[in-house]
């Protein structure tokens, strides 16, 4: 009995530590102040100011940039990473573990090293500033994660299935589309989502590679700049709340769907 209570208490303590800061943000999003006080009472002004503040154009363009960069670089790195995973999978054992090791380096490597080396690379080769640099940089750091999330699907696959497709008369490309792709699909999708969120969250690489000539900002670099003079604008708390609620709802839908599917499977068998 005591054990049970203690176990529960422990879980709640961990949950509280994890979620208390987020709950605070949500609460303060209704205060419309940057100083964590409720002097103006409980109101929705912060949410309204997302669209009416004098910084709205900058904010919206930062959101737009974040989404464009995340979508393009997630798409491209998923494509690159999935193809690379197939290639790595069909390598001989020794060279495969070598390439897999090389693939790990960018992930383990410190982000600041990656950021500065990318900057030097772009400057030396005189890439145009702005989207191009940022998208290439994001593709560079997202691709290894896609490879990592696709590889397990391939290694756990029964190799006989692919060979059976070939024996039954499918061409290699047809076998790839009909057999390999469906097996890879869950890994590809999780790789896509992973690289999308990684790209959205990234600060260090974006901050160092965004340059100055195009005035490009993503959400993370814009919030950093905005905090300087007058503290955070109140609308940030509203935006954080919206992001949190969105992620929460998406997770909820995904999980409910997954558990429904599990129930259905049980019924079928």
């Amino acid at each position: 009995m005591v054990k049970k209570v203690l176990a529960k208490a422990y879980i709640f303590l961990i949950l509280a530590l994890l979620y208390a800061p987020i709950v605070l943000i949500v609460v303060y999003s209704f205060s419309n102040s940057s100083t964590f006080s409720f002097s103006q009472g409980f109101n929705f002004d912060a949410y309204r100011s997302i669209f009416t503040s004098s910084k709205t154009p900058e904010l919206l363009s930062a959101i737009k940039n974040t989404l464009i960069i995340a979508a393009v670089s997630a798409g491209a790195s998923t494509l690159l990473g999935s193809i690379a995973a197939i290639g790595i999978f069909s390598l001989k054992k020794r060279s495969r573990s070598l390439v897999e090791g090389i693939n790990q380096i960018p992930m383990i490597n410190s982000e600041i090293v990656m950021a500065v080396s990318l900057m030097i690379f772009f400057v030396t080769l005189d890439f145009p500033e702005g989207y191009l640099r940022l998208i290439l940089a994001h593709i560079a750091f997202c691709t290894p994660y896609v490879v990592l999330s696709v590889m397990p699907k391939l290694t756990t696959m029964d190799p006989n299935i692919y060979e059976a497709a070939l024996d039954l008369g499918a061409s290699p490309s047809k076998a790839m589309v009909k057999v390999l792709f469906p097996i890879m699909a869950p890994g590809v999708i999780s790789g896509l989502l992973l690289s999308f969120t990684l790209s959205m969250d990234d600060f260090i690489i974006t901050q160092i590679n965004k340059g100055a000539a195009t005035g490009i900002n993503t959400l993370s670099t814009y919030i950093y700049a905005d905090a300087r003079l007058k503290g955070l604008s109140p609308f940030w708390f509203a935006i954080f709340t919206i992001i949190f609620v969105l992620v929460f709802v998406i997770l909820l839908i995904v999980n409910v769907n997954a558990s429904k599917r599990r129930v259905k499977k049980h019924e079928n068998f």
Binding site: T35, Y131, A212, A213, D226, K230
Partner: protein, 450 residues
Amino acid sequence: MKTSNKLRICAIILLLVLFAIPLFSACDKPAIDVLVIYNWADYISPDALDGFSEYYFEATGREVQITYSTFDTNENMLTTLINGKAKVDLICPSEYAIQKLLQNDFIMELDFSKIENSVNVYGDIKDSIASIFGGLIIDGKSIDMTKYFVPYMWGTLGILYNADVVTEADLENGWGLLWNEAKNPELTGKILVKDSIRDTYAAAVLYLAENDLLPASHKDKSIQELINTVDAEMLAAAESVLSAQRSELKGYEVDFGKDDMITGAAYVDLAWSGDALWAIEEGELEGVNLDYFVPEIGGNVWFDGWVIPKNAQNVDAALLFINYMCLPEIAIMNSMEIGYTNSIDPEILQSDEVVLAILEENEYDVEEYFSDIRRYPVVDEKLGVMSDFGEANELAVAMWERVKAGMGDSEGLGDLAVPVYILVGIAALVLIFTAVYFIVDKLKIRPRPI
């Protein structure tokens, strides 16, 4: 074989297209003039910025499109420009960063015949700037830095305090307030200073001067000479007082000092005048009685100015923009938006009808606005401009790191030292054992033939 070739070609084409799209969109620039401005975040009125295209059209008969880019620290800006080779037309750094840009041969001499409105700039500010930057020695040549920039905003470094807690006796100590010289028990642990070596160094040196603690060789120097003296003796003296200050401090802040002052988490803060005035107004709304002062002995006056880099693509538009910024009504619009004092002569501002209307619109009493010494201090020999630390910068930064790490006093990690070392030791042991385990494991597998 055929199909795999096809696939290969498809993949190559796909990759080429992917890389080509952004390249094409980069070339596809509109045929109107583009002006790239690189400024501090939150440091201009959006309306003033929008108004420039009309001004530009009237002056040139052409359309202009502004690309507005922001930075958060001078150091970040310097890295982006000098290492990142970013191409911008107009930058607004602080005085010492302008000096660095000049030393890197990065900015051009301005054609003042195209910036007629620069005559509006406050003479006192011009003089105090010229007193230190008028004859810079760069590569053996004397260069007048005032020919390379036009001041934009200026202000002082002083102390923001909570007037309900800080007493007259506290204020009498001037910079000593940051050291809680009057031993007001309410202030202990409620004092903030900036985590910025230039600002804290100035405060420390002025505190030394107040208390007659200056090294003997520097005793007769003016305020400006003092805050620009960065030698071993002065650094050692500053280090000892900054270390002694630690016991009174709440901490070192970067951006959240003003918020802490408004919420009452801190009562004293080393602040810039513009930030302080903003905090005072914000504090009034929240019912907190804040005030700001520059101690009797003197202080530091700083400014930011517009410079044009040598690799600027559109110099004429940049010059026109500087000219536009020097219009009285534009200057006051910027001041209303960001709270800092603009560089335009207050006499000229006061005689401009549009300026007066704007002040009224923002509910300021005109006389009060211009006579407020927090906003318009008397710029005399008590206020010194600070130049770049130059070669002493590394020593100063190292000193500041030691102060922050608390090595100046014997505390260090304090009571926590022993447990922390034990934890570090355990972590190291665990790491070593894991490494040994994996190595042994690998060695075991190898001899087995596949």
